[in-house]
Symmetry: C3
Subunit: 161 residues, 3 copies
Amino acid sequence: MSDEKPKMTLILFSGELDKALACFTLATTAAASGFEVTIFFTFWGLNVLKKGGISAGKKNFLQKMFAFLNKGTSSKLPLTKFNFAGAGPEMMKMLMKQKKMASLPQMMKAAREMKVKYIACTTSCGIMGVDRTDLIDDVAEMAGAASYLAEAKNANVNLFI
Amino acid sequence: MSDEKPKMTLILFSGELDKALACFTLATTAAASGFEVTIFFTFWGLNVLKKGGISAGKKNFLQKMFAFLNKGTSSKLPLTKFNFAGAGPEMMKMLMKQKKMASLPQMMKAAREMKVKYIACTTSCGIMGVDRTDLIDDVAEMAGAASYLAEAKNANVNLFI
Amino acid sequence: MSDEKPKMTLILFSGELDKALACFTLATTAAASGFEVTIFFTFWGLNVLKKGGISAGKKNFLQKMFAFLNKGTSSKLPLTKFNFAGAGPEMMKMLMKQKKMASLPQMMKAAREMKVKYIACTTSCGIMGVDRTDLIDDVAEMAGAASYLAEAKNANVNLFI
């Protein structure tokens, strides 16, 4: 493994701001340190990739209801604790701004510039009622668990967030 | 490592339907791709292995109370979000059925047919008041963290879910 | 890798008692089995390292508010489920005592005696409004994601808890 670039895969299962921040801090730091990085977005993690707004894609009633409850977009994620109907994340964002830290959308931009690969899990998209058109263009691929395993198998670091 | 089968270990700590689905999607896909797969069930993840019903084993008052609050079985798991007193998981199960996806019990059956090994964590069983007799017969072993580490040490992919 | 000690890194992101117990059970078992173990404490996981009491360090209003909501210390962590305003963790601690299991503070003591290394994430400290002086003396280092990746890159087992 000495000649090749080190490799990291992250599964982002959670849709909370704090976990997304952890995921993208790891991803951008790894990319900046020369790692090849792939993030697999599954279940609630797909919210981070959503364009926002109610999807226009064809959905049946159940999918619509789930999509409505679970609107997402990277600028409106809740916290795992102290969410207070959205006041918690706003407080955290203000703190980060005061400390001149990068926001989640800024980190996501940096990640893409450093070639971090985004894969959206097809199975989760089915369960969550998410279409390709609901997601931002930065998504490189729609793929299943087999593609994940092919990458994770030879990676140095694999985490489930 | 080139001659041997690739290997994956999963620690299922969480007892929610969505996390269990992620765990068993990874496990069955890996097994189908030739991986040797072991799942360690700890804490709330033990709920996935419960036969259901109130345990008949000998328990003291505290253990009984915990066991009652935490009844489990793979067909009655909550969601990490939008649980709505059980309506959320039912909605997700209906969506999966519409999409002709395998349910959690079907995935667990497939996993066992492909020799995915189930280990129940003895320490967690102690804390959670769970006996061997509370668990389904598919559990291969009751073991502690040392057995986990012996397997994870040489595995390609290790995840904590 | 055959001559060297096996290595494990754990990221403790969560601040709940059950997850902290899982983390320190793995850490102490691994250290006892000859692993070199490093734990990176990020976000809510920093609570496990807090001395307790309201911090005396210089903080602005937002940081103070966050620090107040998020008081922490290893003896007052909530559970991910069945917290019941603190009754759940007390019940779990009583059960563990009955079973003569080590408590979290006891495990943390054992971990330090076996040279498990504690690193507190500088970025999270910034976001959460935590100062070095808020944390117990066992913390070996304050460091960022780059230090984590340098260790995780060559480790056998890497988990995100």
